[in-house]
């Protein structure tokens, strides 16, 4: 039985193909202008990696903000349910999923079957989302990955007091002009990011174990700051943290076939 999940987000799109309950291929692309283009491209790429075509799929579920516009999907499910499902399938002990994507941040609590119990999200303010890090990396003139690796080297993170991404630019530029070390500025930025995520996650209450999904989970600096500020160990994802939504959709597709 071959099933697929397709997650079309605001910045990237992901597809996961599963055969008899294991992942056989996945793909991540930057979004195209229209969600249906993104979905078609990412799905074809994942299928061709697995040596399959669209006709070989028994069932496909779409998710993400463009999920209702995917012509080849048999059904669609919200990305919140999919992230919970995918994360708990990979790490069965997980009960809290922190998902930090390109333009939003969510805290999701799930039961022992990966089903959604509760969630809370911010998609109104760029602070605490991937966009905040993007804005800061542009301001400091370093790549996103460099921003993460710089921060890890810092011994003395600088206080970043602004919440707003735009105001943090001003604060960071002042530090640059005062001759502060890039590593210390980057670490301060990661801490500010972690504080915003904590404010959101704190409202839902943390139940062990905790894991983190979404593109920002690849940023080791933010991950470390978040562990410090939440005082928890964040479980490492055994798969790319960016594909968890698509994976969850594929698992829902599998469950649908087994009904």
């Amino acid at each position: 039985m071959v099933v697929a999940g397709c997650d079309v987000g605001s910045l990237s799109a992901e597809a996961v193909i599963m055969d008899n309950g294991s992942i056989i291929s996945f793909e991540i692309i930057k979004v195209r202008p229209r969600p249906e283009q993104s979905a078609g491209d990412v799905m074809n790429a994942a299928l061709s990696k697995a040596g399959l075509t669209l006709g070989g799929l028994d069932y496909c579920i779409s998710t993400g903000y463009g999920r209702e516009k995917i012509p080849f999907a048999n059904d669609n499910i919200s990305e919140i349910s999919c992230h919970g499902k995918g994360a708990q399938w990979l790490i069965p002990s997980v009960r809290t999923v922190i998902d930090v994507g390109g333009q939003d941040c969510k805290a999701i609590s799930v039961d022992e079957n990966g089903n959604l119990l509760n969630f809370i999200m911010n998609d109104k303010c760029a602070a605490g989302t991937g966009r905040f890090l993007e804005v800061m990396s542009k301001t400091l003139g370093v790549g996103l990955e460099e921003l993460a690796s710089l921060a890890v080297r810092s011994k003395n993170p600088l206080p970043v007091t602004s919440q707003c991404s735009i105001f943090t630019e001003t604060e960071a530029m002042c530090y640059v002009n005062e001759g502060e070390k890039m590593a210390d500025i980057a670490a301060g930025i990661n801490q500010a990011m972690a504080r915003r995520v904590k404010a959101l996650v704190g409202r839902i209450g943390i139940v062990d174990e905790v894991c983190m999904t979404g593109g920002v989970a690849k940023n080791s600096g933010v991950l470390k700051s978040l562990e410090e500020i939440l005082q928890v160990t964040i479980k490492k994802m055994p798969e790319d943290p960016q594909i968890i939504g698509a994976l969850g959709a594929a698992i829902f597709a599998k469950e649908e076939m087994q009904k």
């Binding site: 202008p33 760029a126 105001f167 002042c174």
Partner: protein, 258 residues
């Protein structure tokens, strides 16, 4: 008696020199994330315009975001009292001062002598501030000064749904890609700034006479939107609306020097 006031903002730094109660000179320069340096330069500029040397200054007060970095000031003060004092000095009939700067927006109710009765301020979020306009202007490849006049050409303002400046930037770019009129987009942006300010104004209460100060007061689109939303007519200021904080700091310096 010669005194001076400095307003070190996040985007611009301003100085006003008062000689026996009237404005002898003023200057505005970009802060460029160097508050200390900007304060020195703006002071030198203003003093040289007035033909006065630093030692002639009887007292000097600093205000604004970078006020603690002005080493040569005799005293520093928060912006709100300075804005009240500065506006009152120019128009004594004022009861409400609306300030929209680069990173803060405030609504201030003033009473006798320009003393602050009540105020509300937003300095946490760029929406409703000049920085919001700056981000959008850059995305649209327009100058900040173009936003006001351009918005007046709009017949059908676009509704901007994102409050966050970062997200509104993406929204505006997608509106451009959809082929919407630039004037309509800009008008929608001005409207969004005005709406945020109205929320603040309603919390504090607005009593006429009212004036608008700060860099965004130079945006005719925002001013017109605010006038129609608040149903008031903004009093015209006889000087550049960006220097009111520095003027107020100088007024306070005058009182301290006495």
């Amino acid at each position: 008696m010669i005194v001076a006031g400095f307003d070190v903002g996040t985007l611009t730094t301003k100085a006003v020199v008062l000689n026996d109660g009237s404005i002898a000179s003023y200057d505005i320069i970009p802060t460029e994330a160097k508050p200390e340096g900007a304060a020195k330069v703006v002071m030198e500029n203003a003093l040289s315009k007035a033909g006065i040397s630093f030692t002639d200054l009887g007292f000097c007060v600093a205000t604004g975001w970078g006020r603690k970095k002005v080493g040569f000031a005799n005293k520093d003060m928060g912006e709100i009292p300075c804005l009240g004092k500065g506006a009152y000095r120019l128009i004594p009939s004022l009861c409400t001062v609306i300030d929209i700067g680069a990173q803060t927006s405030s609504v201030i109710r003033i009473g006798k002598n320009g003393n602050v009765l009540d105020y509300g301020t937003n300095d946490k979020c760029a929406s409703g501030t000049g920085k919001f306009l700056g981000v959008i202007a850059e995305a649209l490849e327009l100058g900040i000064d173009d936003l006001g006049p351009l918005s007046l050409q709009s017949k059908n303002p676009v509704s901007i749904s994102n409050q966050c400046a970062v997200f509104a930037e993406s929204e505006v770019i997608s509106h451009v890609n959809e082929g919407m009129e630039l004037a309509d987009i800009v008008s929608g942006i001005n409207n969004s700034i005005a709406r945020r300010q109205v929320t603040l104004a309603k919390r504090v209460g607005v009593k006429e006479d009212v004036c608008i100060i700060g860099g965004v007061a130079k945006n005719i689109g925002v001013v017109k939107d605010l006038e129609s939303m608040l149903e008031v007519e903004m009093k015209k200021l006889p000087v550049d609306p960006q220097i009111i904080g520095a003027l107020g700091a100088a007024v306070i310096a005058e009182q301290k020097a006495k």
